[in-house]
Symmetry: C2
Subunit: 75 residues, 2 copies
């Protein structure tokens, strides 16, 4: 399992559930939209403090970002 | 909540549950014992890939490292 892709797939799932755009999440986090896109595609090796910033932006708990039922597409 | 302290408290709890010393976990992770000690004290802003290395060393899932019932001592 690639933990970056698991995190990214859950970020996208939770963002969709919250009805937020990548721009809106980026604005809440104080980062560029491209950073959110890269995170969702599992291409960012984020730190715990960035993980917490995502949690605050989406109003979720860290465990929700590692939920395996999300289904990580492809290898 | 400080996510680094939540992670550290769970790392210590799960290491104890596995009956492993900091040296043993450090050896499994390929890092120095001091690094494990700093992580347990919430003083390391680890990345997702380091988080995954901890999971493999302890045989746990990432969600277990963010369990709030562990009780993070003090402010």
């Amino acid at each position: 399992m690639d933990i970056r892709r698991l995190f990214g797939a859950n970020l996208r799932r939770l963002r969709d559930r919250a009805g937020l755009s990548q721009e809106a999440v980026a604005a809440r986090m104080g980062v560029d939209r491209a950073h959110v896109s890269l995170m969702e595609r599992g291409q960012q090796n984020v730190t715990l403090t960035t993980l917490w910033t995502v949690c605050e932006a989406l109003g979720v708990h860290p465990v929700e970002l590692f939920d395996e039922t999300v289904g990580v597409d492809g290898p």
